[in-house]
Subunit: 338 residues, 2 copies
């Protein structure tokens, strides 16, 4: 009897899992492919193909504060790879402690490769173009193209690595440098238990996580948060009501200031939320989204279930190995705090 | 004949190496012990013993910007472990982009454990006490003790790690946190080819490096730069002449503003030089030291040889493994840029 009951429960749970997976698929949610070949199809850029040498070099450049005018800020300062790929600060801070003039929150670099456009306003098509922005932006790294080029060319180990990555005749200019950073960033994907659930293992999600996923789908969240990144595919903001904190910063959600749907992967690690970082908790973020995007009330219990499901989107971060920045020379441009 | 000549050259070179090692020993230069037991005798603090659990936790705390008021600055911001353990900026910059009010350069954290006192003015006796300073200093991390304590206690994974490191009854206060950071810092030693030369291998140094070491000793540099760290053992400044840039900052080298002799380990990676970071190149640093501390002229050739020898003091940095910062909770104090 007992065995029969257990076995029947197991069958029920298997059917439920299968049906939930089907729902997720219908809603457009996709797993990060387990197969390397499949994954590369998604993350590679034929115009700037991923190679081991470029990734290793890009990783060093990502962590190198010498690319900034001050010598104090690196890509990692705002996109902290030891945390959720962000700075966890309301609005980004940069050169001379200037706060982002649009009061924009640093988006995570993890899984950014899956987005169909970059930046909150979606103005750049890919990571290669995106990487050129913050390095030059006055309130971020505040460097000129020349500064970046001169720094890299003054460091023999970097020159050697560029030759290794691109061939002896490589011309190390600003674009080559930012392309290399982008190549590294393309590899920053974080497979999670949610992916395990979708691809192979029914038990990868807890009961409450499954309930949260079901609620997430049923409420309509996946209308915008879909694809591999559960986001990053469209611009949408204040669809049915005005965002509570729309007046902080200048992205109000009208036709001139649409906001890109952010990825939900690692969302438990990237507080505060929304483009202007004004929402402090996931609970508020979830309920506010229901109100302004879907016109539905999400109860506290439903929000909790969804939040618990989001925990399953916390992915394992790539092991960076030993990162060691090559030595400057007397020719390396000096840091300038002003 | 040829064999006899080679063999005679080999004997000569062995004798020369032995004699140089003897000179180094007489001058008070010491190797980082190869034996772990011997090393631990030097780096451990009986009042705050090194354990694996504390080192792992201290490493996370060292990289955690949430310990700062702004949430933007970690210990690693100014003591970059991916570089030479410094920020390579003239005078340290910190909270609200304030420059160090004494115009002091961030000293390297690598091998700081070997110094008999901490800070440029030598005011603190050990790393435990030192670690309390920059976290609270207004122009550095600008945090209160309460902020630091509240951050750590609000993060369940940190609480768990503290219990693992200190027992279930641990009270996680500011001192316990900074002690743990100090424990990690005690392990940041960087054995180099110079140590290999002193302890085992005549060929660990090139001909020019040996010549540089000889010059270094003969000129009298080891009078101050001695011990395991080749520095860190005494206060000395402007002994025979006034430092060229004494007027930058308020450490002029009189009896009120003596400067601690810095370590020379990894000195090729920690430009700019001197307590006020006013000297840009190693060549100038070496020659200026000869002039103001020893009253001797160091020629360009001699300076070059010494500089080449310094290259052999570049040590291998500890492999940090995967550093991953634990998640904040809704209770974690919010970053404050003001």
């Amino acid at each position: 009897m007992k065995t029969a009951l257990l076995s029947s429960l197991l069958i029920t749970s298997t059917i439920m899992a299968a049906s939930l997976k089907q729902d997720a698929q219908n809603a457009g949610l996709q797993a990060i492919p387990e197969s390397k070949t499949e994954l590369y199809k998604l993350i590679d850029n034929p115009k700037n193909p991923i190679t081991y040498a470029k990734v290793q070099l890009g990783k060093q450049l990502f962590f190198d504060p010498r690319l900034s005018k001050s010598g104090f800020i690196s890509c990692n300062s705002c996109h902290n790879l030891m945390a959720g790929g962000t700075d966890n600060i309301e609005a980004a801070v940069g050169h001379k402690w200037r706060v982002n003039p649009h009061h924009l929150n640093s988006p995570t670099v993890f899984n950014a490769v899956f987005a169909s456009s970059q930046f909150w306003d979606g103005r750049d098509p890919d990571l290669e173009k995106q990487a050129q922005g913050p390095i030059q932006a006055a309130p971020e790294m505040a460097a000129t193209k020349k500064h970046v080029k001169d720094v890299v060319n003054s460091i023999p180990e970097y020159v050697k690595s560029f030759k290794k990555a691109y061939g002896q005749d490589v011309k190390i200019n600003f674009t080559k440098i930012t392309d290399t950073i982008a190549t590294f960033e393309r590899t920053l994907v974080t497979p999670s238990r949610f992916d395990k659930f979708l691809t192979s293992c029914d038990k990868a999600l807890s009961k409450q996580e499954k309930k949260g996923l079901k609620t997430f789908i049923d409420k309509g969240c996946a209308t915008c948060h879909n694809g591999v990144a559960l986001g990053g595919q469209m611009m949408a903001f204040g669809v049915v009501a005005k965002y509570k904190y729309a007046d902080i910063g200048d992205f109000h959600g009208d036709s001139n200031s649409l906001v890109k749907v952010p990825t939900l992967r690692n969302i438990t690690q990237t507080a505060p939320y929304f483009h202007n970082g004004a929402v402090k908790t996931l609970k508020e973020a979830i309920q506010e989204m229901g109100r302004i995007q879907l016109g539905v009330k999400i109860t506290d219990t439903e929000a909790k279930d969804i939040e618990v499901f989001f925990g399953a989107l916390e992915g394992s971060k790539p092991h960076l190995g030993k990162v060691s920045l090559p030595n400057s020379t007397d020719k390396t441009p000096k840091p300038n705090l002003n």
